[in-house]
Subunit: 214 residues, 4 copies
DNA sequence: GATTAAGCGAGACGGTACGTCCGGTCTTTTT
DNA sequence: AAAAAGACCGGACGTACCGTCTCGCTTAATC
């Protein structure tokens, strides 16, 4: 006996770096249940009172299954939102009919409608709040969500500028921010209704400042 | 909310509502310590990890002293901010030199500078987050803070319109939101630097869309 | 006034040494409920499946109230046992009628009866098991429980030796262990019934080896 | 023996009893690694903190391989102990040189020495604790371990009685318990050192009470 | 030699309990 | 009566293991 166990600690079983789990073994049913439960619950109680335990219970899942795959409840929501609520991944470009004003009005009207749907609004607000608290998450959020992203606006505006519909020296990023910023602020800080009058007026006023002189 | 029924009813209570404390007996030293500790701590750990217990401990104060006078940690921060960080009470109107563009540029430059100071930025971000989660608080926040309010912009823009510097039919509220919304979004979602180039370009582009036609 | 506690770093709030709670502020009702629930539960499910959470739930108490005052579930049981089941604190000396054999027979019979009562047996076994796993607890256990202590036997045997009823050179501790050891082993390892025949025979055989020669 | 899913079971077994594994296909290397790891670990962390997961990890084995072959961690330890630490299977009878006192002294001295070896003591204590919590395991333990069993003492004492060295009416089981009980108690409850002085005195005092009168 | 059915290493899974942290209430003592 | 202190009930945290359950992969035994 005695048989000492090889004195150099194998992996020591200590609290060392945890190996990442194997995604190929992931249970798709559990994943879907978690994402679904997250969206339900954030709509029912809001982000501040959303708990991992409640998600696990609603999804019929062990807490560890959540902690194994997501670093935070915000990350769960982000997945839930991009999967079930937002656009799956591809950037939904703004259509280009040649009429910039019409195109932007259509997009902002659609966006306003989306933000009036509580099933969309609650998780989106949760993610905006989480992003405001965590820069890393904010980047993830922007990278994966089309609605909040300004890149699609920049693309459309660039096409318009190249077609001579906007001033040559227009700052495309600033222009895009002028279209989304007032909308975002009005929504997040609840400064007023998100109706079509608002979005139409916004588009028109912004474009009025960007058109070629003449 | 939740509002437990309080089993031992005082004999003639009527509504059973807790009698409010007498403000005249309030300890000013404790109040100041609590507000100061809140600002310190929100700068150190952020809003999500700010706790009432930590504020009480840092302030050398009993927890009950906080619960007696404020309904939530956001309310504490709001008091702390208006007292120590923001303008104490008077609305700081935007100056009117006659040159609208110059006045707005100056104000937005100053605001950008403020938001670059971490001692200002941390509690303000905390309040924005808390307001995004709670509509009541959001109203309080807007009512009491000058910097985030748009009324001052509306006032200055109205003067410019009345002086014929803007179109007759300008939507003053929308115009104000176009000045503050891109700024707010860029700041809260960390979409870019808040420098003078940005604010100047913002002012110029917005005003370009508002000027009287040809 | 009232000496502020040095504004920088109060107690650091770090994970440092936790200050001990103030026993004078302890809630006696909670304490009694916890001890009672422990005894109930250990009788129902045994020591291995006894959990702090179940004790807290049964007692209608927060878990922290247990962790605040006891370091382990074994320590809770020890308090519970000495308060409700065992002798409150004073060492219950073995009576001295002059007849050593009769006195020991009476004590061991009484002890056997006690160990036949499940309400006594379950927590006592739990403590014996806990003590076997933790030397510190074992010492506490021995120091505070009369039934398992051998000091009372030594005291009675010394009186008998001084009265000339035992050999001059008798090893009192060994003699006491010979009275309690077989009993303890038979009980803990369930090697046989703890009846009066057993205890009487044990006393007689031990004393047969200890009497003065002649 | 194509072994369809258990012929004598109705087709819709559902929760049916799990078919026992085939011992002939067992991996001897895994078995040895598990038993070795168990002994190592119980020595390092004690019984209470010994986990199946740690055994599997240390042994480089899947958890299921343990659950397939053993019903509990105590059962693993029991195998580990009888294989590596204790006597493999044959009952090691107490030698009979004709001198009962000398034979018992030798056996108890050897036993004391064994219990002073941590590599032996740790798993033995673990098994004693497990046995104290579970009567079934206790029986298994007694049936398979020579050192802790009292049958060998009874056998040796019977021979002595038949040779006229003990009283005719001696209770052999009680006598055996008087030899092992004090030893067991002193060891398990850590009441004192297990040295040769103790075991010699124990043997002598016990035998003093058992010898024929006159 | 191909098939097939374990046993096996690995580890994800639904759960339970852990011990800690904090929310909000209550009580005691001091100012 | 307010305040400092902090005990209290409750509930969520993130972690550790439980015992079960797939996954390939390897290894025998049967075809």
């Amino acid at each position: 006996m005695s048989q000492r166990p090889d004195p150099d600690q194998p992996p020591a079983s200590g609290t060392g770096a945890r190996r990442p789990p194997d995604p190929s073994r992931r249970n798709a049913r559990s994943r879907a249940a978690i994402l679904g439960a997250s969206l339900q619950l954030v709509g029912e109680v809001g982000y501040a009172r959303l708990t991992i335990e409640a998600i696990a219970a609603r999804a019929g899942v062990g807490k560890q299954t959540i902690y194994r795959w997501w670093p935070s409840k915000a990350a769960v929501l982000l997945d839930a939102f991009t999967e079930n609520g937002g656009e799956p991944g591809a950037e939904p470009a703004i259509p280009d009919t040649g009429d910039l004003a019409a195109d932007l009005r259509a997009v902002l009207r659609a966006t306003a409608d989306e933000f009036s749907d509580p099933a969309f609004e609650a998780p989106y607000r949760a993610l905006a709040i989480a992003g405001a608290q965590d820069a890393d998450l904010s980047r993830e959020f922007d990278a994966r969500l089309a609605g909040g992203g300004i890149e699609v606006y920049i693309t459309r505006l660039r096409a318009a500028r190249d077609a001579g519909q906007l001033r040559e020296d227009v700052d495309l990023r600033l222009a895009a921010e002028m279209l989304t910023g007032p909308f975002f602020q009005r929504w997040l800080a609840r400064r007023g209704p998100l109706d079509h009058d608002f979005t139409d007026a916004l588009v028109d006023t912004v474009l009025a400042g960007l058109r070629p002189r003449g």
